[in-house]
Symmetry: C2
Subunit: 289 residues, 2 copies
Amino acid sequence: MRSHILGKIELDRTRLAKDLGYLASVPTVEEEYDEFSNGFWKNIPLWNATGEGEDRLYRDVPGSAIATEHAARVPYLREIVQTVFVGDRLKMARTRNLKNAVVIPHRDFVELDQDVDRYFRTFMVLEDSPQAFHSNEDTVIHMRPGEIWFLDAATVHAAINFSEHSRQSLCIDFAFDGGFDEKEIFADPTVYDPGATPEIVTRKPFTQEHRDRILSLSKVIERQNFRDLLFLLSKVHFTYDVHPGDAYDWLVEIAKKADDEKMVVKAEQIREFAMEARALHDRFSLTSW
Amino acid sequence: MRSHILGKIELDRTRLAKDLGYLASVPTVEEEYDEFSNGFWKNIPLWNATGEGEDRLYRDVPGSAIATEHAARVPYLREIVQTVFVGDRLKMARTRNLKNAVVIPHRDFVELDQDVDRYFRTFMVLEDSPQAFHSNEDTVIHMRPGEIWFLDAATVHAAINFSEHSRQSLCIDFAFDGGFDEKEIFADPTVYDPGATPEIVTRKPFTQEHRDRILSLSKVIERQNFRDLLFLLSKVHFTYDVHPGDAYDWLVEIAKKADDEKMVVKAEQIREFAMEARALHDRFSLTSW
């Protein structure tokens, strides 16, 4: 199952503006998984495993998620969550914002015990932000406000906002005990309307010549800029038609050409960590050598 | 006048640990001047122009600065500020932390009306963080905890923490109406003991061959990674013996080699903005084209 549009709601701009104002006023904190991003990434939990407004970690939770104090401050978003979606499968609802930031290509849920098919993540952009994109395997998407997306977090995906303009969004996670149909997440069956045509980003061709230019970063890479180059490489696939995971292969090759075994090992480790087998709470440093 | 050590105090680790705990608990917010840094940069005002704990902007203020609510929560640091330094020239006192972050080379106070010689900035690192450095013109410094530094913010300087380990510090700004002697900032005259030998970082030679490698970034630069490359270039001088301001000259040259006039203009603008003549509240975007 790949990322696709599940339905669309018409957002009430006036009511939404008040909620966005509250979200903007919540201070940013250091994020879980912040090895995966640079720049400004702000997650605010509305429902989560504990009901605590500072608890940002997704985890398996028996029963349904608990509203945090933030949910009370965003009445319009609360109404959307409670009227559009089925509450008893809801495991987490959070707003997410990116500015001048990239979330590097990775797979989610690999740290959880259960079969990834149990998990179902939806994502809805709340503000029109033309320079903000998602990627999923070989596709780059510009999500339009109000579109409810299934986000296939178990396959390789990434996100970016090339600008400093806010890209507030609502991310809702569901989990099921066994098989399910995607329409089961909706309390309001009229919202479920799959098959809409998404705004796919037309990317430039990725050529061997471009690949060679990227690999010339072996002349510049050092341990002190290893992390910067990882983020730089992670952005290429948003503009050029190449798989997001190739960023890691380039990083490994660049490190090999630079002939620094520690960098090669770290490049292979971050590829493994992001793409394959990270463990819950397993932290990874891009800057310790 | 260049950056130099003014004196040193013995930090009480036990009392300090409690204050550091409070500072770590204060949420990070988006910072004024955040065009100048990437990564994690956290400033907490203890004394400022308004006494408001969220007011992070340095500005000229008649009389002395006002304590914020944060000052009450860090009794040891409050005691240091109030017993070591003269209160009536104090314009701002704030804690500053950097993690996995660089503050790009720049000059301060250029946006203020008055003669820069009126301003006197001191800086004291509170935690030992071996991968954190300051630079000032042709010198890179590793500040040791308890050293009270005059930081010559009116000349070209930059800062970095290559690691994710906390580098909490205390930055205190003074201003005078006319001529003054640096010892006038001290209420406790026994602390003033200039002339100590700093820990200067021995850097690698910067060669023409290295410069050519840096300029090969013209093969990779695009508008989408322009900002990333600026930060990457800003780090070079911490490891190699080259002036911090050269980062901007390389950026201009790389943009010219890449033959993108808009990038050339932006590179020249950021050089001007950081090094010469930025205006107060004048914001600059590295990502809008």
